[in-house]
């Protein structure tokens, strides 16, 4: 899932300064599950905005609302009445949601309340590990289901660098060396022969370095 975390309150107050009617919009999917931008977090942030308004003497009306998904037009369309009544929208969705709301309501300023941090899964309650960078050319079948693009700090494709030590990464001894994990997994599954195959340079154009990407499922596109 897409994981995010709320920006510091001071930063949020700075971006919403001067707006009298703020719609705090939550998203019911990824950011709800990662405890960053669901109904509960919308309520907490709204309270903070109201308290700050009282403290500073700036009367601010805060309206709350959480929809199923801010990354789909149908759902975002359902927000229209609340958006209309507000003079700014504070979206608690990931960056995708913020952008769709901004696009669908061109006359309204839309601000992000979260920093979108990663795509990954939880390793335990409230801890998420980055697992995928959407590089456009999955090689997990060759690397024991462990992504070196995401989990190796140098995105090595041909085994660990010289800084890998005792299974840990050179940048932080708390971080697992992706290639140490890959090695163990390939060994356990009798695929160590793959380690000796030289992987050619990666196509970084389709990994995001070739300009904005677009995915089209031709047969489904309605002209």
């Amino acid at each position: 899932m897409i994981v995010g975390e709320r920006k510091p309150v001071a930063e949020i107050l700075e971006m919403t300064k001067g707006y009298d009617r703020i719609f705090v919009a939550g998203c019911g999917t990824c950011v709800t599950v990662c405890l960053a931008g669901g109904e509960k977090e919308v309520s907490v942030l709204s309270s903070l905005l109201r308290i700050s308004g009282k403290k500073t003497g700036h009367k601010v009306k805060v309206v709350e609302g959480t929809i199923e998904r801010q990354c789909e037009r149908e759902w975002v369309g359902e927000m229209k009445d609340k958006v209309k009544d507000a003079d700014a929208v504070l979206s608690m969705a990931c960056g995708i949601g913020v952008q769709l709301v901004a696009e669908m309501y061109p006359e309204k300023p839309v601000f992000p309340a979260l920093n979108t941090t990663l795509m990954g899964f939880p390793t335990k309650h409230a801890v998420w590990l980055e697992n995928c960078r959407a590089c456009g050319d999955c090689m997990l079948h060759l690397t024991g289901g462990i992504c070196p693009i995401t989990r190796c700090a140098k995105q090595m494709l041909n085994g660990p660098c010289g800084g890998s030590l005792n299974g840990k990464c050179e940048i932080d001894s708390e971080i697992d060396c992706a290639w140490a994990l890959i090695y163990e997994k390939l060994k356990a599954t009798n695929r160590l022969d793959w380690m000796s195959k030289i992987q050619p340079p990666k196509r970084w154009d389709i990994a995001g370095h070739g300009g904005p990407r677009k995915t089209v499922k031709e047969e489904e596109v309605v002209p």
Binding site: A153, E170, A180
Partner: protein, 305 residues
């Protein structure tokens, strides 16, 4: 001869090679390189110019290698994948060859997070093995990474680095083999203190016949003080200083002299290991000791290739 460098000739003749590290300054002062060049002239076969080592900004390896050339010392120009993509690396390989730099050492590079600009964007378009493979194809097949053909290929003696004692140890030899298959002509290892462990690695290297396919140059780091020993042990990736050497450095009345003595003994021990074809002395900001170490190790005069 692939590139016809002094280092290549010496190694190909089977003579024991001596290289050292020559770190560029953290300023625009080219005289630092000139001074270091004067210290080591005639004492080594080639000198490595590090490329923003430890991800700390230094005078560029290309410029420093050019200065060394002018001073009459053969450079080994280091290039990392951290700060350059395949376009820049190929460009530098062509340029290096054009100005007469013949030896290159291709590394992935220390991560920028460890250096003095930890907020920088890392490049890592290629890894070291892909860089080596690309350089070999440029030289031998006259092809760029994209397959296009060039009319004048670069003359390169291609080096790789290896950290023989890093864990998981069982993967270090296969990784060396991968670098050899990719096209490494010589390998310079991380500094060796624990000769016994290094010997075991070399036995594994020999069992795969790799010592016959690539020239192996063992790294030696002279210890300037007990503090250096601690620093190297704790901070330098993959280098472990055995307790016995800590003890010697601690007890020594003249730590610097003891450090030189240990380096000389290490070189003598490494020289006896089958398959070790040279030593690479990394006297970090202590280059003035290189001549003394080389002399005491009985490696002077250097052969004229």
């Amino acid at each position: 001869m692939k590139a016809g460098s002094n280092l290549e000739k010496i190694l190909e003749k089977g003579q024991f090679a001596v290289t050292c590290e020559c770190g560029p300054p953290k300023s625009a002062n080219g005289d630092v390189i000139r001074q270091k060049a004067k210290m080591i002239k005639g004492k080594v076969d080639a000198a490595n110019i590090t490329d923003n080592q430890a991800a700390i900004v230094k005078l560029s390896s290309f410029a420093a290698a050019t200065i060394l050339l002018k001073e009459g010392i053969e450079p080994v120009m280091q290039i990392t994948a951290r700060d350059r993509n395949r376009i820049a690396i190929q460009s530098d390989l062509l340029g290096a060859s054009a100005v007469g730099i013949r030896n290159v050492l291709l590394l992935t590079g220390d991560h920028q997070k460890l250096g003095n600009h930890p907020e920088a964007k890392g490049v890592f378009d290629l890894d070291s093995i892909q860089m080596i493979d690309m350089a070999r194809r440029m030289r031998d097949e006259r092809r760029f990474q994209n397959g296009e053909v060039m009319d004048v290929p670069p003359k390169l003696f291609i080096g790789a680095a290896e950290n023989p004692l890093a864990e998981p140890a069982e993967y270090r030899v296969p990784r060396l083999e991968k670098k050899v298959v990719a096209g490494a002509d010589f390998v310079q290892t991380q500094g060796v203190f624990d000769v016994e462990r290094f010997e075991k690695w070399m036995a594994a290297v020999r069992s795969q016949g790799l010592h016959k396919k690539v020239h192996i140059i063992a790294g030696v780091v002279p210890l300037k003080s007990l503090g250096t020993a601690k620093f190297v042990n704790d901070k330098v990736l993959g280098m472990t200083v055995p307790d016995s050497l800590f003890e010697r450095m601690k007890k020594a009345s003249d730590a610097k002299a003891e450090g030189v003595k240990i380096a000389v003994e290490t070189i003598e021990a490494l020289r006896k290991i089958e398959g070790v074809q040279g030593v690479h002395i990394m006297a970090i900001e202590w280059e003035e000791k290189v001549p003394e170490i080389v002399e005491k190790a009985g490696l002077l005069p250097r052969p004229v290739a």
